[in-house]
């Protein structure tokens, strides 16, 4: 696969510590396009009926991930969800998707179970399996700090678990660096079962483009159109809440709001950083080591707000969830059900929380991107397109200009491959089986 790809798939066997590599064949891309189309294919290929584990975890990126197509931030993690039992897909957003795209691999299959705790260091086409004895037991923040300090780079993206995953909680989440991710599927438990503490990713790759001038021209036209759209006013998580009818949310979160942060190349910032222990109006670098938290998921915010927690208390609880490595949405739902309203009580209860939870949804795609919408057929179709093409799944719902036809057109310009609508239809049907 010559264009928009590294042309490599890594197969990592945690048990034997063997790492093999395969080429990403063009035929596979013509057949399954990319993203969840291929991660699902690889999952099916490597999941063994005889295996007594939950099957492999497959990391991947969409066909257009890491390009200048607006919203092309998405990485994908595919595995069998411990909470739903289905082969499911979790979006890797923020900067995790792009780092994976430039890591030198298009897809990574992680199978088996390590004898003792390990972590994967994926960099520039190399996968290293390193011992994680010193990381095991640490919260996600400490583990992320330690890895970045050890490797000497602050931009390493870390997909990791906390004690929740190590202890086998169904609600365990694979976080992204210090933050809550979109993992509502309990993939953190899978990591724990495999004795996989975290995956550290950093890449300096390069993606060739088949028809660069036309591709860039189309991307430039898209962003120019998008910029003049009123949806560009929807910066930050409060704007998302307002769109869901939560009008007083701005007043609730406003006093703590520091800045809005976007995922890679996503024109609308869907995350907001609040300062809980620092003046949010501060412009220079804070001297407080951990002044606040990045809010990435609207559901727990609204739930905790309705339960009467202040924004500051909510920020503290979600920070504790992130450190513990548990899905904040599930915690919010279960806390509300059991009437827990004090942050201290909620934090104390974290190790004992058990599902099932409704916020996990019933789709194979993470309900994180539902954002108040019904996860019906239309929503699922749009999610599938996002996960195949590598477009931010919340952003894609907001961007009508990014039609399937347009995305296929761009894919053709970028890769030189002919990818008709019929192929996309088949791939989506296969994912949704």
């Amino acid at each position: 696969m010559e264009y928009l790809a590294s042309d490599k798939i890594a197969i990592v066997d945690l048990g034997s510590r063997d790492i093999t590599e395969e080429e990403l064949e063009e035929d596979l891309v013509l057949d399954k396009i990319g993203g969840a189309g291929i991660t699902k294919h690889l999952y099916d290929q490597y999941a063994s009926a005889q295996s007594n584990d939950n099957g492999p975890i497959v990391l991947g990126t969409g066909l257009l991930t890491g390009t200048l197509v607006p919203g092309s931030s998405l990485g994908i993690m595919t595995a069998k969800s411990p909470s739903t039992g289905k082969v499911s897909h979790v979006p890797l957003h923020l900067d995790a998707g792009i780092e994976l795209k430039y890591s030198g691999f298009d897809y990574i299959v992680i199978k088996g179970k390590a004898e003792k705790p390990v972590y994967l260091w994926i960099h520039d086409g190399i996968v290293d399996i390193n011992d994680a004895d010193e990381l095991w037991g640490k919260d996600t923040w400490t583990a992320t700090d330690d890895i970045r300090s050890e490797m000497g780079d602050d931009l390493i993206q870390v997909l990791g678990i906390g004690r929740a995953g190590e202890n086998g909680s169904d609600l365990a989440q694979v976080g992204i660096n210090y933050w809550q991710s979109a993992d509502r599927m309990g993939f953190g438990k899978l990591f724990g079962e495999k004795n996989l503490k975290l995956i550290a990713i950093r890449g300096m790759g390069l993606l060739e483009i088949s028809e660069p001038e036309d591709f860039i021209e189309d991307c430039a036209e898209l962003i120019t159109t998008i910029r003049s759209n009123s949806l560009m006013d929807m910066q930050g998580i409060a704007a998302t809440a307002a769109a869901l009818g939560e009008e007083d949310f701005r007043d609730w979160i406003g006093p703590l709001t520091h800045r809005h942060m976007a995922c890679f190349n996503t024109p609308v910032a869907t995350s907001t950083f609040i300062f809980t222990d620092e003046d949010p109006a501060l412009l220079k670098e804070s001297t407080v080591p951990e002044p606040g938290f990045l809010l990435t998921d609207i559901f727990p915010l609204i739930t905790f707000k309705k339960a009467g927690l202040s924004a500051k208390e909510t920020g503290a609880v979600l920070k504790a969830c992130a450190k513990y490595g548990i899905d904040g949405a599930a915690v919010a739902e279960l806390s509300a059900k059991s009437g827990l309203t004090s942050p201290e009580d909620i934090e104390k209860a974290l190790p004992d929380l058990k599902g099932p939870v409704e916020c996990a949804g019933s789709s194979v795609f993470s309900a994180w991107a539902a954002v108040g919408k019904e996860t019906d057929e239309n929503w699922e179709r749009r999610q599938a397109v996002a996960y195949v093409m590598g477009i931010h799944p919340i952003w894609l719902q907001m961007a009508p200009d990014l039609t399937e036809e347009k995305l296929l057109d761009l894919a053709g310009l970028g890769t030189e491959l002919e990818l008709p609508q019929e192929t996309l239809d088949e791939v989506i049907a296969d994912i949704l089986v």
């Binding site: 960099h123 520039d124 086409g125 190399i126 290293d128 300090s149 490797m151 000497g152 780079d153 300096m204």
Partner: protein, 445 residues
């Protein structure tokens, strides 16, 4: 000559084909004397990488590789002081700190260099490498004094700097060497033999000398104009006076050998025409008799199969680890003064990229040829790079002094890149000669 013609020529030469200058494409170097019957051969080129050399020695490696010259050796001052020059036809000395180079080579290195050239060897000096052999009474430089040329950018009264006050001059005893311009400059070749008609070329100037000589027949090119990329460090009028009409390239003779001294960097990889001119001049003034062949001998060990794969993978791992940290540091204002030079964090990756960009083709070479233990040593020095650069990062985060790991780091970077390139070019030359030893290739004029 063009790149493809050099590649074609070098394929024939490395296959052992006996060619003479008259068999070049038409009037290759526009020469029409009996020298055309001189044999052409595949030259053995040494590139100085030792103390005082800046990273521009990597440019020589880049352009020689591009033109198909793979018989390259990478030499430190210690190599020069021993017998490394005995096995070479050409020594290329790029930019850096002239005084540091002179001090590092010392009288022993100077005598070795003199013997090399006198016996027929060719010296290519660019920038600092051009200053080195010029007549000088200054300490360390006074061991050389091979070429009776004067520089025109020497002054007792420092002119006013227009910009970049920190960059434009160096002390030279009681005087100053000032640099009137930086970046691109235009030179006009003299058209003197072995070259035909005069032509205009551009090349970048980064402190190299403008020269005057008593014998105009030794001038290969003069500075003639500025371009819209020229950056003036002094008043334009002074810059013109210092440069225009003065020698940008001179061709000195010493004994049986020659020295080509380039003020601008004709080896800069972005200036192809200049590179070709340098190569043409080099080929013309190669020693009449090539130095004895060595290197691909029984001492070499082959790395193939899983052993090769493991070696390259281990090397790649450390380079990736270092490169990741380096990329993170290079947009920081971090810098160190080591010797008389300022090293920015961005320079770290210059050396790493010189290796990294060649890894893909290195992986495809089978076998890879190493001296016993060289592969292990290479991985070990690469590991030291990783260790030191991570120390710098941790120190930077803590606002601690990072000079010591930086000093160690740049030493390892230079050593590692030179060692890698030695292995790389040795293996490449082996494959190149193996690929081309059968049959003949057509020569297209």
């Amino acid at each position: 000559m063009t790149v493809s013609r050099y590649m074609a020529l070098n394929k024939r030469l490395i296959s052992g084909e006996a060619l003479t200058f008259s068999q070049g494409p038409g009037k290759w170097l526009h020469q029409t004397t009996q020298d055309e019957d001189r044999p052409l051969y595949y030259p053995k080129i040494g590139i100085y990488t030792g103390k005082g050399a800046s990273h521009s020695w990597l440019w020589f490696a880049d352009i020689f590789e591009r033109l198909g010259f793979y018989d390259l050796a990478f030499l430190t001052e210690n190599d020069l002081a021993q017998d490394a020059l005995d096995r070479l036809d050409v020594l290329a000395m790029s930019g850096g700190d002239t005084f540091a180079i002179a001090e590092a080579l010392g009288p022993k290195g100077a005598r070795k260099l003199e013997d090399f050239i006198t016996a027929g060897g060719l010296y290519l000096g660019s920038c600092a490498g051009a200053y080195l052999p010029l007549y000088s009474s200054k300490e360390h430089l006074n061991h050389f004094n091979f070429v009776a040329a004067k520089i025109t950018n020497l002054t007792k009264t420092l002119p006013e700097a227009h910009s970049m006050k920190e960059k434009f001059c160096t002390c030279y005893g009681c005087s100053f060497i000032y640099h009137p311009v930086r970046e691109e400059i235009e030179v006009t070749t003299s058209g003197l033999p072995p070259f035909g008609t005069s032509m205009t070329l551009t090349a970048p100037l980064y402190g190299g000398p403008p020269m005057t000589v008593t014998d105009p027949e030794t001038i290969l090119a003069t500075y003639t104009n500025f371009t819209n990329k020229t950056l003036f460090l002094v008043d334009r009028e002074l810059a013109e006076k210092t440069l225009f009409g003065n020698a940008a390239i001179i061709r000195g003779k010493m004994g049986q050998g020659h020295l080509h001294l380039f003020g601008p960097h004709f080896e800069h990889p972005h200036y192809l025409e200049a590179n070709l001119f340098l190569a043409n001049a080099m080929m013309w003034d190669l020693p009449v008799q090539p130095s004895p062949s060595t290197d691909l001998d029984d001492e070499m060990e082959s790395r193939v199969g899983s052993e090769k794969k493991t070696f390259i993978r281990n090397l790649k791992r450390e380079l990736s680890n270092s490169r990741i940290v380096a990329a993170g540091l290079e947009m920081s204002p971090l810098k160190w003064t080591i010797g008389n030079k300022v090293y920015e964090a961005g320079k770290i990756r210059v050396f790493l990229e010189a290796i990294w960009q060649r890894l893909r083709s290195f992986e495809k070479m089978t076998p890879v040829l190493v001296r016993p233990g060289q592969d292990g040593l290479l991985v070990q020095t690469a590991l030291h790079i990783t260790e030191n650069i991570r120390k710098i990062k941790r120190g930077w985060d803590r606002q601690a002094d990072t000079l010591e790991p930086a000093r160690a780091l740049f030493g390892f970077l230079n050593r590692t890149s030179a060692l890698f390139l030695e292995i790389y070019f040795r293996s490449k030359r082996f494959h190149y000669s193996r690929e081309n030893c059968i049959g003949t290739l057509s020569w297209s004029n």
